[in-house]
Amino acid sequence: MNSQWEAVIGLEIHTQLSTKSKIFSGAATAYGAEPNTQACAVDLGLPGVLPVLNKDAVRKAVTFGLAIDAEIAPHSVFARKNYFYPDLPKGYQISQFELPIVGNGHLDIEVDGVSKRIGITRAHLEEDAGKSLHEDFHGLTGIDLNRAGTPLLEIVSEPDMRSAKEAVAYMRKLHELVRYLEICDGNMQEGSFRCDANVSVRPKGQNEFGTRAEIKNINSFKFVEKAINHEIERQIDVIEGGGKVVQETRLYDANKDETRSMRSKEEANDYRYFPDPDLLPVLIEESLKNEIRTTLPELPDAKKQRFIEQYTLDNESATTLTSSRELADFYETVVKASGGEAKLAGNWLTGDVLGALNKAGLEIGDCPVNAERLSGLLKRIADNTISGKTAKQVFDKLWNSNDSADEIIEKEGLKQITDTGAIEAIVDKVIAANPVPVEQYRAGKDKALMALVGQIMKETQGKANPGEVNKMLIAKLKN
């Protein structure tokens, strides 16, 4: 970005709450059913039907509010947002307007090692609309109302972010949090976590905000970063070209990597919000808040801090290991089962295990090597039964079979040679057979040692302890 300009970004994130039934009806919320099979009379907006609030959606909203240290409104109100659209069955969306359930809160993010607090203005409950399907209908539009009435929590941030990177960090942090809290499955492909970004630019040092554009419906971390960066560039170009940014809604086109105008402020709807007379105000008692507070899990930041202290992990490892509740739990199970091999477990999880999962496109929950089998491997590394290098071999076998680490080591004969006499014989043999590197080492070329160690490891088929070999080799060469 041109250094004379500063971007101002605020995000509105729609998280789909993982309730079993819809926010105002008993219909199921499961994704991917045949069109219109999960829409009951209430979801269809038939004449005479009435909404009844799903208490679990309220609990989940309160859970979120407590987790971001927000004010929970003792009295919040559902309002109708009126507009016509074919996939909006009632001609209005039930949402919250003046009195949302969650008020001021905050979330801390970290970018390039610098931590920053992002304000959260509010979070409110609302129902999702259905979907318009434009394909396969020969010029007509199909309507699928399965999604209509799915509970959403719209989380609105303050305009506190100053770069696309910060916006992505915030979005990731929020994504991590809602999954920790188990209030949203976080599935972005299925639209469970969607983002609208408000972007404006201003000359550095100016206090007033520039005119903002809203970019709608950006559904991956990658696209959020690209869309925001593109929009920042576009706005700077407009201003530097002598033009003015207009307040409007823009749509990000991932294929062309550009945003384009959807509608301007003048064309914007007047939603005619008013309190929904079919629903009573939502009253949250102190006792409910207290009860929910006791069910809150350890939150990512606290967990990370604890990992750093309890397991003496570095910041980066602790961040990775606490990036999801499942991974953190997996880690702690491994540490416990391996008899406290915290460091080793950390290295293995952040390295080989996550690498393998990534390659296979799997989540930690689907890892073919469970915590118990992984800790079996770590124990053998720790007690020097196998070398780190051999361990990688064993891990591959663990991944592809149901055997335990001990069974694999036994079957494959991978036990490290602990008989120092046997190693010594091989060391002597290698020294005798490689006079050139021996001379080079003695002449002060430390690198030459590696060639000798490699030869010895080869002779022992990797079963010697490289540390031991090193020590022995140096001792002999110095004689």
Partner: protein, 483 residues
């Protein structure tokens, strides 16, 4: 058989003086005979006779409920599984609900027989039943006159003895005003007493279903079936339903009646005033004490009502868009055309007027001045009632400013029509229960006495109505030609 009360009908069915099939056929015949009243939109003869047969079998087992085998009819605003529910509108002329309203379910499980669906003003908007897509209903007492509205078909059907008892709904007077104009007993319960689930919404914060019958005694039996908490309606109230019949005969000795002085201003028609005063004198004979009460904010009720009701209706009626059910225009050119023509062609003038008023009142820049202001007025009116009802047990006054007027007389002047509800509307804004009972005639046309009670005092209102009906016979009068 059509002269018998509900209690007598129930006894007749149990003593096998007649069967439910015979009784049902008798009312179906009367409905057919008097179809020119246009009280019904749909007569469901086949399903009624099937229900009657089932009721006869149930009665034979001795396990039948109090309404088993008794024919009733539903205002066409209550959704009925398998039978058209039009709400008096072209918009829903093709609509058959896939479910029963909670009120309808209650009647079904009580074993009642549904004769059909009653005519009404379109979407319950009107005070004369002239706004129905299915044409006006005639008042059995003067067939060139309106029956009132919006439950005009309901009131006419009971007055003409086409059904022993029926349902109605009341948003601004739609049970009480037609009950008054047709000389029957109509009760609007406390808001939240009767479930609104399946009752097509006009103005959600004001709509309330209730019984319309010939007497308070019959209305008590009907309300017993209709009332109760419904988990499907968040605004229904979880409060025990008392036995409305046991307290009907309670003494009225010492009953405190308040007469709001705003109800008896100089503008009140002198004959109307005299009729109401005579009814109140009757209560004094029964031991009641009368005092005047002041309700200074009552005159604000009509403007507040038309802002709130219109605002809510403008949103409630958005779902009629030609997309999923109901009327759709021919060959829409695009989405906007689909919306504008479907709605333009299928809504009547009064419905359009209120949608426009409501949309305006909720629009950016007007919301505070109209909607919020009206809500503040609503609170003032409720406070007036609270204050008055802390001093007295019930309030009394006229239901309407005049008796039934001619068909066509007020259609050209909506304000004149809105003033029809000047005495009834405030009660809806406050959410209180109120009743109209027959209290005399002016020039052969019925007059209703308005009895207003505190929240959930339906039993008291029915008691007050019943005791009066024990010493008067206005409710027993039958219009000529319908004996």
């Amino acid at each position: 058989m059509h002269k018998l009360t509900l209690t007598e009908l129930a006894a007749g069915l149990r003593s096998k003086a007649f069967s439910s099939v015979e009784l049902t056929q008798h009312f179906l015949d009367r409905t057919h005979q008097h179809h020119d009243l246009n009280a019904f939109i749909t007569v469901s003869a086949d399903s009624a006779l099937q229900q009657a047969q089932a009721a006869d079998q149930l009665l034979a087992t001795g396990n039948a409920g109090p309404l088993a085998g008794i024919p009733i009819a539903q205002k066409d605003i209550f959704c009925t599984l398998g039978t058209k529910t039009s709400c008096g509108s072209k918009m829903l002329d093709n609509f058959i609900a896939p479910y029963d309203a909670t009120v309808v379910e209650h009647f079904n499980s009580a074993g009642a027989v549904m004769l059909g669906k009653l005519n009404m003003d379109e979407f319950a908007m009107g005070s004369s039943n002239e706004n129905s897509f299915y044409g006006p209903v005639r008042n059995p007492w003067a067939t060139d006159c309106v029956p009132g509205g919006s439950s005009g078909g309901s009131a006419a059907a009971v007055a003409a003895r086409l059904a022993p008892a029926v349902t109605g709904t009341d948003t601004g007077g739609s049970i009480r005003q037609p009950a008054a104009l047709c000389g029957i007993t109509g009760l609007k319960p406390t808001y939240g007493r009767v479930s609104r689930y399946g009752m097509i919404a006009y103005a959600s914060s004001l709509d309330q279903g209730g019984p319309m019958a010939r007497s308070a005694e019959d209305a008590a039996l009907l309300l017993q079936v209709m009332a109760g908490f419904d988990p499907k309606d968040s605004t229904s109230v979880d409060q025990t339903v008392p036995d409305y019949s046991t307290s009907l005969n309670d003494s009225l000795q010492g009953l405190k009646i308040g007469l709001p002085k705003q109800f008896f201003s100089a503008e009140l028609d002198s004959q109307m005033a005299a009729t109401i005063q005579a009814a109140i004198a009757e209560y004094q004979k029964l031991g009641a004490e009368v005092k005047e009460v002041d309700m200074p904010n009552l005159q604000l009720a009509i403007p507040a009502y038309y802002v709130i009701a219109s605002a809510e209706c403008s949103s409630n009626l958005s779902r009629y868009d030609g997309v999923r059910f109901g009327y759709r225009c021919q060959n829409p050119a695009d989405l906007t055309d689909l919306y504008t023509r479907s709605r333009g062609e299928a809504f009547g003038a009064e419905v359009k007027r209120r949608i426009l008023m409501g949309t305006y009142a909720l629009s950016a820049g007007y919301y505070d001045a109209y909607y919020l202001k009206a809500q503040q007025v609503r609170r003032l009116i409720s406070d007036d009632f609270k204050r008055a009802l802390s001093e007295v047990d019930v309030l009394m006054g006229p239901v309407t400013p005049n008796t039934a007027f001619n068909i066509g007389e007020k259609t050209s002047d909506p304000i004149q029509m809105y003033l029809e509800d000047i005495y009834t509307i405030a009660i809806n804004l406050a959410g209180l229960p109120a009743m109209s009972i027959p209290a005399g005639f002016i020039d052969g046309k019925p007059v209703g006495l308005h009895v207003i009670g505190n929240y959930f005092s339906e039993a008291k209102l029915l008691n007050v109505g019943h005791r009066y009906q024990q010493v008067t016979d206005w409710h027993l009068q039958v219009p000529k030609g319908f004996e």
